[in-house]
């Protein structure tokens, strides 16, 4: 992903190797836009559609989301140490160094 030749901050290097993770709702158009944006930029990512999980798993993931962001708002994209709430292409570009 880091193709622009800029130096990677050492402290972030380990986490930057992890795939971005997208927490989404299957019906949310902003979540779809975020996934589409990542697809278009050929970014490999993991994603969870929280609303399609069974109850137990859903509770667990929602707790995770609340811990990360302090709320239940989607999409949430975790890129290394960066947490982006909502569909924000500028923030995605910056975090992914696109």
């Amino acid at each position: 992903m880091c193709t622009n030749g800029k130096m990677t901050v050492v402290g972030e290097s380990r986490s930057m190797t992890a795939k971005p993770k997208v927490y989404a709702l299957s019906t949310c158009p902003y979540c779809k836009r975020t996934k589409r944006f990542l697809d278009q930029h050929k970014v490999a990512y993991d994603h969870i559609d929280v609303d399609t999980l069974d109850d137990a798993k859903q509770d667990e993931v929602l707790e995770e989301v609340e811990k990360l962001t302090g709320r239940r708002s989607f999409p949430v994209v975790v890129i290394g140490h960066e947490i982006i709430v909502g569909h924000d292409e500028d923030k995605l570009k910056k975090a992914l160094k696109l």
Binding site: L25, S26, T27, P29, Y30, K32, V50, D51
Partner: protein
Amino acid sequence: MTIHEVERVYCPVCQAKFKYVPGWNVGDLVICTVCGQKLKLELHGKEWVGARPEKGQEKELRERIDEYARLKGYVFNDMKEELIEGLLEKNKRFGDFFCPCRMEHVPEYMCPCKPTRGGDVERNGKCYCGLFWKSK
């Protein structure tokens, strides 16, 4: 009791009651002035209740949101069709037109959701999911 003494109509979408207009009769199609839903009037005992003649159909949703925007003077933006798609998916998967951007599938989040009807658009310039916008 005559029909004219019954003054309010219950809407099953927003779960609120709105004013009965003298002259309305069983079977008439009326618009809920709270949420914009088209209703077919029924009389349950002494209570006027609105039925949803096109329940769950895309037409019902489109008419409701257009009517609600008209009633409130709100406008849409270019996300409208994508949000409608999400609302249709909610209906397919969870049984009604719940807000596509919320986790919970409860009556108060049927579109237009309760926070929207409670003034979110006036306060924030838009509703939670960004379907309805305050006109400039």
